[in-house]
């Protein structure tokens, strides 16, 4: 429905342009353009929310606690690697990004290469979850999931694959429970939050603290932090490119239903943002973004301190070279805080943050890089 509005509006705006540039004289181009729009509108009219399917790889829920669900994806090879992999996604946005659609699925590629893959879905926090803390998420839900997987797979340790904020969580967890983590893979994970030239960090208060945004005040005012507020914050990092420019290319893909659905799936993911549990948001923004406590060894999860020197397991750090959300420098800082002689590998990809999940080239190179690295450390 939105796209229909958009197209009509787009035509309203753009027709004067086309007229001005003399395109009305170019009958062929104008007709071709009109055909695209009309054909696209037909596709749009036939689509509804159910058509925008995401998460196509078969999976089963193996554990559920409150709103959190632990899924196991159906293995596709006869004998997967014995150590299972648990994907820990961020609380911001939904985890189906790692399994968006056929041909754009990190999960599907990892399965094909012989991994046994689990995924945590944190769910949509409601007002009743306003008091959930980082301790509940890490020492509670995440720790229980690790225990469940260990029990199911008859292993003492598993591999964690932490994505974005989930990567930061995985670092904290592995520091608190190193005995349960065989290998640690972090992907576009922020580590050093003092990045004044990265807009997300600057707006989060990495230099000014409460003067940039008073998190206590915000949580007190709102309880849970609305997902729509976070969406807007992310879009305001590149307001014109993300809020306007990308839609101008839509008419070019509208006549191709498959491409249109790809676009809509990404739209669905972008705007499918759960609210953030108030107390968790308070601690994450204050301790990580504003006071950069992770690299200082000052983060407290409950009464336990996160010390990156506890990360004695092999670590693979994957980052995106053009990431505007998590600066490469932020991820790369991890190497400076690990114990000496760590088994630490870094690999980068020439894409942005989202490109790490959906770029065809990255999906060709990234899963084999992870699996190859893990195979050497089973």
């Amino acid at each position: 429905m939105f796209l229909l509005f958009f197209i009509v509006h787009w035509l309203k705006i753009m027709l004067p342009f086309l007229a001005q540039m003399g395109l009305e004289e170019n009958l062929h181009e104008t007709l071709s353009f009109t055909e695209k729009i009309l054909s696209g509108l037909e596709h749009l009219q036939g689509l509804n929310e159910e058509d925008i399917q995401v998460g196509f790889t078969p999976k089963e829920a193996v554990y559920q606690e409150d709103k959190m669900v632990l899924y196991r994806f159906q293995p596709v090879v006869e004998s997967p690697l014995p150590i299972p992999v648990l994907i820990v996604y961020a609380l911001v946005n939904r985890p189906y990004m790692v399994d968006l659609q056929e041909g754009r699925s990190l999960v599907a590629n990892l399965l094909k290469l012989g991994l046994d893959v689990y995924l945590i879905d944190w769910g949509y926090p409601s007002r009743g979850d306003r008091w959930l803390t980082l301790e509940d998420y890490l020492s509670g839900y995440l720790n229980t999931c690790v225990d469940v997987i260990c029990q199911r797979s008859q292993q003492e340790k598993i591999t964690l694959l932490g994505v974005c904020q989930g990567g930061t969580f995985s670092l904290c967890y592995a520091s608190l429970f190193p005995e349960k983590v065989k290998n640690l893979v972090v992907m576009v994970a922020p580590v050093d939050f003092e990045q004044p030239s990265t807009l997300l960090n600057a707006r989060g208060g990495c230099t000014l603290g409460a003067e940039a945004v008073d998190i206590d005040l915000m949580v007190d005012a709102m309880g849970n932090i609305p997902g729509d507020y976070l969406n807007l914050e992310f879009l305001m990092l590149k307001p014109l490119q993300l809020g306007y420019q990308k839609y101008l290319d839509v008419p070019d893909i509208m006549e191709d239903e498959a491409k249109l659905l790809n676009f809509l799936r990404m739209e669905k993911w972008i705007f499918d943002s759960p609210d953030q549990a108030g107390e968790t948001y308070r601690q994450f923004l204050k301790d990580f973004y504003q006071q950069n406590k992770l690299i200082k060894g000052e983060v407290m999860i409950g009464d336990r301190r996160v010390d990156l020197h506890n990360l004695t397991m092999p670590i693979l750090n994957l980052y995106a070279e053009k990431d505007h959300l998590v600066a490469p420098a932020s991820s790369l800082a991890l190497g400076d805080y690990l114990p000496e002689n760590s088994d630490y590998t870094v690999q980068s990809f020439p894409v942005g943050h989202i490109g790490m999940y959906v770029s065809g080239k990255v999906q060709r190179d990234l899963p084999p890089a992870i699996v190859h690295w893990l195979q050497e450390r089973q």
């Binding site: 429905m1 939105f2 509005f5 958009f6 509006h9 705006i13 753009m14 342009f17 001005q20 540039m21 929310e49 409150d66 939904r94 949509y124 007002r127 009743g128 306003r130 008091w131 959930l132 509940d136 509670g140 004044p196 030239s197 807009l199 600057a202 707006r203 208060g205 230099t207 000014l208 409460a210 003067e211 940039a212 945004v213 008073d214 005040l217 915000m218 007190d220 005012a221 709102m222 309880g223 932090i225 609305p226 997902g227 729509d228 507020y229 969406n231 807007l232 879009l235 990092l237 590149k238 307001p239 014109l240 490119q241 809020g243 306007y244 420019q245 705007f271 499918d272 943002s273 759960p274």
Partner: protein, 328 residues
């Protein structure tokens, strides 16, 4: 060339006007989103509502894009004809900035007029007040239908008593907002008004900053277009134009908001918004209490208790499980 100059002049007013409107609209949407945030119950609602908000913003940006393109089309022939494009551009930008400054001074004047502000504030909160006021009025209306059939005598007597014994001495004293049964509500209303004034000021500052950034973004775009033209690669299509505009403007936006002075202006605005929201909730809670309805604080308290109990149950279950597994 004649017709080009005419178009150029005609473009000035609507373009800058729309610039300001787009900024205001964008922030109105921001407010709406903040207000609606808590009400977003399902992911589907979230998915649908935000694009709608953006559709509105895009409408404004679209108009701005159109006018920018027209402005560029006016500059381009001048540049190629006599090389005066740079001067024209400068003049155009100066006019635009003047208009933005005029808008700024107008807003600041409003800030200084407390009476006007109070009136405006009351108008803003009228809908909210109406909720309890009409209920209250309807509840006291039956009092007028006294058994005597004529309430006016009673009212006169009441007024006499009020004027003679109350208003002239104790009444004026009791009308102090810091005394009497309405003390708490008066305090909350005054506090909300105070925070609303601060929010208005912070918002005006922020809008000025936004306008300045938009102006600088446009200037960067024009510089980029001129540079392209000098290299004999003039931008001729709307698509390339908008792409260059989006990139140039976003770069200016990003650089501007990484500067501490601008971050402080934005922070002041967001913090003021949250302070005002807390004040509003406080007033609302006072009224909810009056009508014996549950307040957000009470619901939060219940949620917190449930959360703590849930944790306790989980912990007990875990210990029970461990005991059952290892009875010794």
């Amino acid at each position: 060339m004649e017709s080009t100059s005419k178009t150029w002049t005609e473009l000035m007013t609507p373009f800058s006007q729309f610039w300001l409107e787009s900024s205001s609209q964008a922030w109105k949407n921001w407010f709406d989103l903040m207000a609606q945030g808590g009400a977003m119950a399902s992911p589907n609602q979230t998915f649908e509502s935000l694009p709608q908000q953006f559709q509105q913003s895009q409408q404004f940006y679209g108009e701005m894009l159109k006018l920018s393109f027209q402005a560029w089309q006016s500059i381009w022939p001048k540049l190629t004809a006599n090389g005066s494009g740079q001067a024209d551009l400068q003049g155009y930008l100066e006019q635009l900035q003047t208009q933005i400054q005029q808008y700024a001074s107008g807003t600041q004047t409003l800030q200084g007029d407390l009476d006007g502000l109070w009136q405006y504030y009351l108008k803003e909160v009228q809908k909210f007040s109406q909720l309890w006021l009409s209920t209250w009025q309807s509840s006291i209306a039956p009092l007028g239908k006294l058994p005597t059939g004529d309430v006016y005598a009673w009212l006169d007597l009441n007024n006499l008593y009020g004027d003679a014994l109350y208003s002239k001495n104790l009444g004026s004293f009791m009308r102090s907002p810091l005394l009497g049964p309405s003390r708490e509500m008066n305090g909350k209303l005054l506090g909300a008004f105070d925070d609303w004034v601060k929010l208005s000021q912070a918002m005006a500052d922020y809008q000025l900053l936004e306008a300045d950034i938009q102006y600088r973004g446009f200037a960067a775009l024009m510089e980029d277009l001129l540079a392209q033209a000098k290299e004999d690669k003039p931008v001729k299509t709307w698509k390339e134009f908008q792409q260059r505009w989006a990139i140039a403007a976003d770069q200016v936006f990003e650089a501007a908001f990484c500067e501490e002075k601008n971050l402080k202006i934005r922070g002041k605005f967001i913090n003021a918004l949250n302070r005002y929201r807390i004040q509003q909730q406080s007033i609302l809670e006072a009224w909810l209490k009056t009508f014996n309805l549950p307040t957000r604080s009470e619901v939060d308290e219940i949620h917190q208790t449930i959360y703590q109990l849930r944790k306790e149950v989980k912990s007990l279950k875990k210990r029970l499980g461990e005991t059952e597994t290892n009875p010794g």
